[in-house]
Symmetry: C2
DNA sequence: ATTTAAACTTGCCTTATGTCAAGAAATACT
DNA sequence: AGTATTTCTTGACATAAGGCAAGTTTAAAT
């Protein structure tokens, strides 16, 4: 009568079998983060990645003027990973910060490698996830070029409504590539329609 | 006294052994493209990826107004691949076009899969390449937000000088997220310094 | 070689978004 | 509950980049 593990949902659209999941899932360990604490800080080598069970997280970088730019938001079911730092074993440029209290499940690099090279479906699943992230980033960067700020905001509302409701405008603004002032005006304009 | 194969250079910074390369490299087939011809067109499922031996290539998408936006440039030694279409087996949104006559080496999906799952170093190499592409795309998108057009152009000159010399300003402009008119003015400003 | 088309530049004017600063509203702190 | 911070909004003005059209240069085609 055991509860279904949270991670079974995360892996539900992969080809991983029940037996494989019984090997993989116990390798993940639950960890909680307090609001405003960091999962990863600039300069560190990412030795873990995470799946979010509850809470909100953002990643950001500091630009040359020291202003922070939000690069992504994460919530329930999302993978949180600095692909470059984790796989190339080099210091990250990013900060990853809990925006609320969070519960996550994390896996370390050595264990990942062991699973990756021993379970065919696990590496297929991992590759699919990475390619999905790449695709999302590509859409994002095309949107930055092709769409106006207002349209980018409208699309964010549509695609990630839970973000809008849980994250400060300042962080949303930098994610959209605009200032909080401009975002405020865009919101005003939308509200009056 | 056989010539060293072009692809040995491409794989030279991987851990692939001589024996492994002897298996892998013959799976690639040489193919030539005429200037302006397409390696891949929107709507197709990418069944190949390529390494460029000579020539210049660009990928682009069409935005909602039907204007094309260059998403990347490729030249000697670069991998040309639509990660999402190739691995998720779904129709691509991109066009990939030869800007000059080109010589490439290509591999099909099924052969890739067979190598990926049978040769540990091959999948390590592939993963590293994908993560490197992800990292490049991330730098690009951060640059779009944090840097002015002039700085993005100066950085492109520094990082890919061969592109500037071989590609029309129109294509460089859309890659930088600006119009050819603006790029022309930026060039004038730089020239007068 | 001549013609045609494409690429690039430039001027004039418009627009999206930024900057700075002040005030209002919402949250956090003790 | 009351004060201190942070977040959000708004106004006045500044600036980066775009739109359009004409002219020039360069490259392609016959």
């Amino acid at each position: 009568m055991s509860e279904t593990h949270f991670l079974t949902k995360v892996f539900s659209n992969s080809d991983l079998t029940k037996d494989e999941l019984d090997v993989i899932i116990p390798k993940f360990h639950q960890i909680s983060y307090k609001k405003n604490s960091y999962l990863l800080s600039q300069g560190e080598i990412a030795n873990y990645y995470w799946f979010v069970e509850s809470g909100f997280i953002r990643s950001f970088v500091l630009d040359t003027e020291g202003d922070d730019i939000t690069t992504n938001f994460y919530s329930t079911g999302d993978i949180v990973i600095d692909w470059a730092s984790f796989f190339l074993r080099k210091p990250t440029r990013e900060h990853i910060q809990a925006l609320t209290d969070c519960v996550c499940w994390r896996l370390d690099f050595d264990t990942f490698q062991q699973l990756f090279h021993s379970i065919k479906n696990f590496r297929e699943q991992g590759r699919t996830t990475l390619v999905g992230s790449y695709f999302g980033l590509k859409r994002y960067s095309i949107s930055m070029i092709a769409d106006q700020a207002k349209d980018r905001y409208l699309r964010l509302i549509e695609e990630k409504p839970h973000i809008i409701q849980n994250v400060s405008l300042k962080h949303i603004a930098t994610y959209l590539g605009i200032t909080d002032t401009s975002l405020s005006r865009i919101r005003k304009e939308i509200a009056s329609e």
